[in-house]
């Protein structure tokens, strides 16, 4: 449904303050936007951009410890910042509704879903209790929840995450509001579940002509959902435009960095000789946490100087595989060879030299670097510990490593992690791994917490280091763009099993294993038509058909910058 010209929500000069240490600090510094009836506005930005705060303010609501300090929020002619509490309360739930990020936490554990559904319509006098119950079942059916007649009579903890999120969307719809605020509704879900929820939300919004504010940090998601997009940075609006225009032609530098397409591609490497000894080799590795099996017969090789990307959803066993290799989780059966030799399964029994061989770089550099240690100690310790270097020799090595990761030694050597940016922290993580002079490095989602441009810098650095030292990488990721950039080979995992593996080029060309296909096709792309096309293709029955355009034309699909 096309948005009408009638303005539903008008926000002007909105400033919001938060309380910290007995002082009020401004966290949103003056935001203006309009929302027409039936229109979907995407609010996008990193954490701390103030997206959620603005979304709630659109309901005339602030969390404890926050207050609207200036500006107006006008909803359908009513000025919410000046309205009485009672007037605002009557709007909430009936004309403006809210869908939270975590459905599991936002449903009251003590009541059944359908009772929570009926609460708002009964309270606001929209429907009687019995009517609301029938209506709920109807909406559950429309949102394609399984067992719509029955699911409402369950308690929240008896329903899965993706279904709860749809039930919450239904609940927000219960009074047929004019406006719904969606606050990162799919962030906590896996990609394959995310599709269902995105589809459900979009259907519902279109069917009822509801206007929406869709808050997310994921560009590809916002491209599917929003008519217009507003980019926020640290409480300031950066840019606002129609979605297609914004994707094709961002104006501000910050927006361009968000939109930047990953152009980096690792050079194809020669195929290793058939008799080459792999840096790491897994043979039929099976592992379990207690009595819960988590890995089944996993086998693959990682050759020197090459990168194997391991992809899969949460719970697929990709991180567990890493734990088996490092010896944190000794396998139940199977063998792990490092440089042709089998070290003890438990890291505590490995020699210093065996430990040195395999290093690890973590996803969250924040938790991977001890916040109380200076860079000198963070990188210096493995140098001293493994190589026995002290004093001047250690200092020289330390400086050489900092130069290697492109950080000016004099400037950085005495800093604490808190004095570094996210990308710099990740570089320190790389230097720490490198300091051990290993054969093999496990990179666990090393770029997923970083902005596009910064992430690309990290990938280039890793590639440079790989060439220089002939390192083998195991690259754990769920991001296919990263896989395209850096992988030589790909291993796809699901429920603890390897479902498909092979060279990168083969993996991105059909035919695929059904799961690989589902996974590949479910990753949102920055093309506003992607979701429609995917749903149409899936409806037509050929899941395989969906993967073809996604894989064959990645640059086109990502829309904006025909860089390759």
């Amino acid at each position: 449904m096309a948005p009408s010209n009638e303005t539903l929500l008008r926000v002007r000069g909105l400033k919001i303050e938060g309380r910290a240490d007995h002082e009020w600090l401004e966290i949103v510094h003056g935001v203006d936007f309009d929302l027409r009836k039936g229109e979907v506005l995407g609010l996008i930005g990193e954490s701390g951009a103030g997206k959620s705060t603005i979304g709630l303010a659109a309901m005339g609501f602030t969390r404890d410890g926050c207050r609207i300090s200036a500006g107006t929020v006008e909803f359908d002619g009513m000025e919410l910042t000046k309205a009485s509490d009672e007037a605002r309360r009557k709007l909430r739930g009936s004309r403006i509704a809210y869908v939270a990020q975590s459905a599991a936490a936002s449903f009251n554990p003590a009541h059944r879903l359908i009772d929570q559904y009926a609460e708002a319509p009964v309270e606001h006098g929209v429907m009687a209790r019995a009517e609301a119950t029938t209506d709920a079942v109807d909406l559950y059916r429309r949102l394609q929840l399984p067992n719509p007649d029955e699911i409402g009579f369950r308690y929240p903890h008896q329903v899965s995450g993706g279904q709860l999120q749809r039930a919450m969307t239904a609940m927000a719809m219960s009074c047929r509001p004019d406006l719904i605020i969606f606050d990162e509704p799919t962030t906590a879900l896996d990609v394959t579940t995310q599709i269902e929820v995105l589809a459900a939300i979009r259907d519902a919004v279109e069917q009822f002509g509801t206007a929406a504010i869709y808050i997310t940090h994921d560009l590809a998601v916002v491209a599917q959902m929003a008519d217009r997009v507003m980019v926020l940075l640290k409480g300031d609006p950066v840019e606002e435009a129609e979605t297609r225009q914004m994707l094709a032609n961002p104006k501000e530098d910050y927006t361009k960095t968000l939109w930047a397409v990953r152009t980096f591609r690792t050079e194809p490497k020669p195929v290793p000789a058939a008799d080459a000894v792999p840096a790491v080799s897994l043979r039929n590795v099976t592992a379990a946490y207690g009595s819960v099996p988590v890995l089944h017969e996993v086998s693959f090789d990682i050759h020197k100087g090459r990168t194997v990307a391991v992809v899969g959803e949460s719970g697929s066993g990709k991180s567990t595989t890493a734990r088996c290799i490092t010896g944190l989780l000794p396998p139940v059966s199977g063998h792990i060879f490092i440089d042709g030799e089998e070290p003890p399964a438990d890291y505590r029994q490995r020699s210093k030299d065996q430990l040195r061989q395999a290093q690890m770089i973590y996803q969250m550099a924040d938790t991977a670097l001890n916040p109380r240690q200076r860079i000198r100690d963070l990188i210096g310790r493995p140098i001293e510990f493994y190589l026995g270097l002290k004093g001047k020799a250690k200092e020289e090595r330390l400086r050489a490593l900092l130069a290697e990761i492109e950080l000016e030694p004099d400037q950085f050597i005495d800093r604490l992690p808190s004095e570094l940016s996210g990308g710099q922290k990740q570089r320190i993580g790389i230097a720490r791994a490198l300091a051990a002079e290993p054969q093999f490095i496990i990179c666990d989602e090393v770029t997923s917490a970083l902005d596009q441009l910064v992430a690309e810098g990290i990938l280039r650095l890793l590639d440079k280091i790989q060439k220089e030292f002939g390192l083998a990488y195991m690259f754990i990721t769920h991001d296919l763009a990263t896989v395209r950039s850096i992988a030589d080979e790909v291993v796809v995992m699901k429920e603890g099993k390897v479902v498909e593996q092979g060279p990168k080029a083969e993996m991105f060309t059909p035919p695929h294993h059904a799961y690989t296909d589902l996974l590949l096709s479910s990753v949102p792309e920055m093309d506003p038509d992607w979701l429609d096309r995917l749903l149409a293709e899936r409806a037509a029955g050929g899941a395989g058909a969906a993967a073809a355009p996604a894989a064959a034309a990645p640059a086109a699909a990502r829309g904006v910058n025909p860089g390759e």
Partner: protein, 307 residues
């Protein structure tokens, strides 16, 4: 002295300290440069009040010999003399100077409570950190034993142990330190558990670092802030417990001046409506409030710094 006077004096003391706290805050904020000034300015008045009060107590305790008009244990005249020129707060049940005993008791009571808390920390924190870092059955055994020890109320357990070991200062200190270390263990373990799950600990383990390095270099620096705040809270509990035991006649023994036993020794006066014997109890309460204020502020700060 009448109750109303007593209350007036108590209020006056609090007001005096508050005004002092306000003056100190304004003074410090005025003389410091930008970066530290922010901290000084955002520190609430209650924290200044607490710090100032604690500083006063510590100074009095250290310089008791200089401040007190009379020696701690000398009988100087008639018993239960009223407030007056010679003896500002009168004399006690044996004719000793009340004010001097009050001042010396600052040294004894606070000192003993401090030593006991320190011991409890040494014991509880090291076991708690060990349990968290080693994990597995070591953690299981430690935690189960502590659970059982904690399922006897502290004062009751202390009474049982003091019956067995007698009521010397040494046994009071050791018994309370051991009993209180169970609480320290719980907290130290919980705080350390939050650190132990961090990737940097895993990185250190995978590097092959030993237990000593991991505890002292990786975990300890990250748990000091909450442990220091907990030290304040534990000190309050220990201080109140020792005072309670002394009051019951089972803690610090005469003729050592001590706030808890001073109340007990002079309780007769109370039944005549004279609240003078409650001055030591007031001293206890004021210090405990002060420590609580400082701990509140520190906890608030450390939780605020995280995000």
């Amino acid at each position: 002295m009448l109750l109303i006077d007593f209350v007036a004096y108590a209020v006056a003391a609090v007001v005096l300290m508050s005004v002092g706290a306000w003056v100190v805050k304004r003074g410090l904020v005025a003389v410091t440069a930008d970066r530290r000034q922010h901290l000084l300015r955002t520190t609430p008045l209650s924290a200044y009040f607490g710090l100032l009060t604690i500083a006063t107590y510590v100074l009095v305790a250290i310089f008791a010999d200089l401040v007190a008009p009379f020696p701690e244990r000398d009988v100087l005249g008639a018993e239960y003399q009223p407030w007056g020129e010679a003896h500002i707060l009168g004399t006690d049940n044996l004719g000793r100077d009340m004010l001097s005993r009050l001042i010396y008791a600052a040294r004894n009571t606070v000192g003993i409570a401090f030593v006991t808390t320190a011991l409890a920390f040494l014991l509880g924190a090291s076991m708690g950190l060990l349990a968290a870092v080693v994990g597995g059955w070591v953690d299981q055994i430690f935690s189960r034993v502590i659970d059982i020890l904690m399922s006897i109320p502290q004062l009751i357990f202390a009474l049982l142990l003091l019956t067995i070991f007698g009521t010397s200062i040494l046994s009071v200190v050791l018994v309370i330190a051991v009993l209180d270390s169970t609480r320290v263990f719980r907290l130290a373990r919980a705080v350390a558990m939050n650190v132990v799950v961090m990737d940097y600990i895993e990185a250190a383990r995978l590097r092959g670092e030993g237990l000593g390095w991991i505890i002292s270099r990786e975990v300890l620096p990250n748990v000091t802030a909450p442990l220091i705040a907990e030290f304040g809270l534990r000190f309050c509990f220990v201080f109140l417990l020792i005072s309670a035991l002394s009051f019951l006649g089972l803690g610090i023994q005469p003729p050592t001046a001590d706030w808890g036993s001073m109340v007990r020794e002079n309780a007769t006066l109370i039944t005549f409506g004279d609240p003078t014997p409650l001055l030591p109890a007031l001293a206890i309460a004021l210090l405990t409030v002060a420590v609580n204020f400082v701990v509140d502020w520190m906890l608030h700060r450390s939780s605020g710094l995280k995000d």
